[in-house]
Symmetry: C2
Subunit: 296 residues, 2 copies
Amino acid sequence: MADAPLVAGIELGGTKCNCILARGPDSIEDEVRIPTTAPAETLAAIEQVLAGWSGFASIGIASFGPISIDRDAGDYGSITATPKPGWSRTDIVRRIERRFGVPVGFHTDVVGAALAEAKWGAAKGLADIAYVTVGTGIGVGLIAGGKPVDGLTHAELGHIRPVRIDGDDWIGNCPFHGGCVEGLCAGPAIAARTGTRAEHLPADHPAWDLVAHGLGQLLHTLVLTGIPRRIVMGGGVMVGTSHLFPRVRAAMIDSLAGYVPLPEVGLSRYVVPPALGNNAGPLGAILLGAQALERG
Amino acid sequence: MADAPLVAGIELGGTKCNCILARGPDSIEDEVRIPTTAPAETLAAIEQVLAGWSGFASIGIASFGPISIDRDAGDYGSITATPKPGWSRTDIVRRIERRFGVPVGFHTDVVGAALAEAKWGAAKGLADIAYVTVGTGIGVGLIAGGKPVDGLTHAELGHIRPVRIDGDDWIGNCPFHGGCVEGLCAGPAIAARTGTRAEHLPADHPAWDLVAHGLGQLLHTLVLTGIPRRIVMGGGVMVGTSHLFPRVRAAMIDSLAGYVPLPEVGLSRYVVPPALGNNAGPLGAILLGAQALERG
């Protein structure tokens, strides 16, 4: 761990930002939490925290999205079109780079969580994994060979359209797609469908079968990308509903129907809860910073 | 081109194998076609062709699948479970490596085609693309940063389950999934559904709307992986049915419904036919060989 670089990590969240100065989970030197308000105010507060730290070799930022991760694009390093008031087209990376003059890594919060879980958490030792968060939205982070899977943009696989269980014709609540996986299985969708918040919905409520089926379709698709050696599922809907894990896994296996007959996919440890809890975000930011340093 | 290494490429297909000695499309030194029969006979014939060549620095193999591309797996470099008689669990790479003692690159035919189209064809200059073949099956090759997107295995996204147009309840003909994209939109599915082979089906036949819708769902999913800057669609069903391209693209745009509002995705050149024709396979093998040489 002493060999790992000292990195300033920023988890930029919708309601709060976690700033952390660390080399890894066992060598955290400082941690500061800042509320997410208007961009100018929030970013100034983050910069003030970082200015009080010294010795970090790089900075990593794991952000809510959508963000521009295309290094050749004019808007690289910014938040693009978000419903969050004031944050659309907010430059993050170039501002931070100018201020601190060290390499800056930048990716989604879910890719950060994937990196952290693959390095220190529930997928330790695996270089190819998917991290799925099921909360107010559904996000997917993909890493392959220990690096984010990047191309035109970041994954948004929570918005695929799943086939439905016969007789389930609820239209869903995604403003774009209605019944995409997020529009059927995220926390607000469960609340809209049942009138009850997910954390208060009893395990034997029939809506859980529909949620497990939709999430099973998402996992079917993730397996068919060929990438994940393990799928880590976190977020408010998964955490505290441990009955959901075996049901989602069974729905995935049922849907794959024997296709991709690799032993890994059949194991119960193929679909697991995160191990790092609230630390996945900030530790993911540390890894994004470390990767930026390697890139130079 | 003179700087590119001389590579022996093998496109291992279901009915024939193309062996090619080349540095690229403008410097093909030899090309030999061999029928695909039993594994021992076919591989011996390939080895005989390669033994007659000299000066190649590496070998690339673009193969029909499914194949094991996991370098840490015991069965790396082999064809795994194929319905093709005699070919299941056939080692390819280790046998060729032992015989010729040069680095061997190995991937699917569709990843080979993606590499070739990105280097010399319809996606020239783009490092992040998807190649989709719609023929007797539906295969997807994904490359990011100019390299295959690898993890546990190769992509098999032709087997995702698409939502259906209201009233379309044909069960599909995939032996695993019934109505997955392959089971609804591949050549044999079109023939089973309509009683007419795809190449004889008139452009105004209503089945084409159902096929375009299913392929549009596949492209919706590919966009949401975040990877492709362009999608190249080849294979017997796409080639010769040029009316299908605008319909598939429209179905994709309709399904995405304004999500991922990147200009690239809205352009007609986002979904294009291949430019290399039958040469994509052998030239993809050349690139797999060149990448194996870089890896050492």
